[in-house]
Symmetry: C3
Subunit: 259 residues, 3 copies
């Protein structure tokens, strides 16, 4: 029960509660302590669906720290997973198979497959998506290089997203990095290549199965405006989850003015 119930209605109505299959919020965690995770989840857990241990950070924690973070998240109905960069490193070191095995052993139920840094041919990508599904993982894929500019045509982006889903990926993520700057569809000031991303949206078969990495408020606002309050958003800093939830519901000026 919220404090102002019966008094203030969400200006943008229709926000879905948990469990949900769209309207997802995915957090990027680049090194939070277990105590901090516990605090955040206590007040904002209802608005978080997926929790990414960014890039290779999960390889740095002690087993105790990793487990205590994972426990806090799982208990709150949030799915933790290691960032795609870790998978890329394992693949590059010829250990992709053992990584999946170990991920399972550590209690991960979700895995990300990406090629943001390491090169990966489509057949290899598809093989690992299928393999991870076969082993029972929720599979997230990510499209886009972790460097400046569009590295493919809009059509190629759309094709890769569609193919990933066709191979069994549960959600396909569009790369935005931690910063939302100077990468893919984001310019170096964080502004959006609106025309290009609009064309991409039109080409997508299942917009509900795409997660848009949108670390900055202006980017989050753009997606809420274009795709509604239940758009899937990713790479949200843990400290911004509550502000994003307010933005989704029109409880913040940037979206309240859409009413």
């Amino acid at each position: 029960m919220t404090p102002w119930i019966d008094i203030v209605r969400d200006p943008l109505p229709g926000r879905r509660g948990k469990p949900r299959t769209s309207g997802l919020t995915m957090v990027i965690d680049t090194g939070l302590a277990p105590g901090t995770v516990r605090d955040i989840v206590e007040s904002a857990g209802d608005w978080i669906d997926y929790w990414k241990f960014g890039f290779g950070t999960s390889a740095l924690y002690s087993l105790d720290v990793l487990r205590s973070k994972m426990d806090v998240l799982s208990t709150s109905g949030i799915v933790p997973y290691p960032g795609g960069t870790l998978f890329e490193i394992a693949l590059y070191q010829d250990k992709a198979d053992r990584l999946l095995e170990k991920a399972r052993e550590l209690g991960f139920t979700c895995i990300e497959i990406s090629d943001g840094t390491v090169e990966m041919d489509a057949p290899i990508r598809h093989k690992w998506i299928r393999e991870a599904k076969r082993r029972g993982f929720v599979v997230l894929t990510e499209t886009g290089k972790k460097r400046a500019g569009l590295t493919m045509s809009v059509e190629q982006y759309a094709t890769q997203l569609a193919e990933d889903l066709a191979c069994g990926a549960d959600y396909a993520i569009l790369e935005g990095r931690e910063s939302g700057r100077n990468v893919g569809f984001y310019r170096s000031d964080g502004s959006i290549l609106e025309e290009e991303i609009g064309r991409l949206m039109e080409l997508l078969p299942s917009p509900d199965r795409v997660i848009w990495e949108a670390p900055q408020k202006s980017q989050q606002e753009f997606f809420v405006r274009k795709l509604g309050v239940n758009v899937n958003l990713g790479n949200i800093p843990a400290t911004e989850v509550t502000a994003l939830e307010a933005l989704r519901r029109g409880l913040r000026s940037d979206t309240l003015r859409l009413v």
Copy 2:
């Protein structure tokens, strides 16, 4: 007792302790967990006077979370209040009256009246300032739209600030948003329209009753330089309170060089 007492004196002297009616620091909280609030207040509580639950975030928390945040703050002599956007939404939904009633019931003793997003005529604005005062609230008002640029002339800003105070507002706040960028007297890089704000300062009848939202260090430095160590500053991120207190006292290079 501070550690270096008798050794290091504040380079900028005269900083007031609590309770104080000027030299206020108002924090903007866009979604901190109760545990985090407790931690912050433990070490920085003496330097915080008002604590704003930014925009509509207070409508998202569970009753437990809201109450535990409010308890921590009140115990430390800090006044919590819901952001003006919440009042604007209630007014727009024809529930302003019930919002004040419920605020009281929840234990709020302070309320903000603003028109950053929703349009409000002067008579309506004045009516609600008076009504909130009549019901015993500390009343903060906010002047300025939550969008780019000056939306009124400097004279109109001064008039609204003065009228709010004349209607009984305890403090009148000048809008700066969470970012301090691309809003009111702040350019998109956070720099200040110094000439315009200088003119505004000259037109103000009671500078001690104005709170300047100044989220960025360069903005805080500007106001300390122009109006002294006991200037009222708002929208300070909770994590920046200690750094601001150092800035006020000349314990940081940016103001130490004024000595």
Copy 3:
């Protein structure tokens, strides 16, 4: 034992563990609560060597708060010290001697000597470096003014760094402020004067005894690329320590692509 041991190897090998005399990470803390410090150190303590209470913040805390922060750090093998600005203020107030005395009394074992804001002739600087060493402190010095641009020639920077070390300083720090913007070798967008800093590197007698303040990821990446995974880096925000450790080891795209 880390979770993925035997599976994922560090793409950039050779990172040193504690205790180490190079590969240092120095954190800047501009006002964290004791509870937050405890949380951070619990998961990231192994990657932090020095912990600076930024500028004059240590003069603001109560004795209890200061001691509880220092205890948490010391227990984790991290060396806390007051920022150089505090020493500059004491010197300006003719209390440098008593500051060292009090620092010792409070339990500090490390001190920073700088002239970022207050003017200090070389003989005075050298005297205090020697004096602090004589009293048993680990001595860090800092070179560079806390204002825009290069305030000396590259040769003068190199000379001061070398002289500090010759006078007994344990490490000489190159100024980068909290922001890494618009100061010394950093432009206002955080980019690096690469040619100048390259010349400085060539002129340094003991690169292992220089700590480069590099608050921004792009700056950290630059130094890892130029000077290796065990470069000494300073002014790292406490929340970025884990991300930096990943960067050092090639567990993040920005350095993984160097492999």
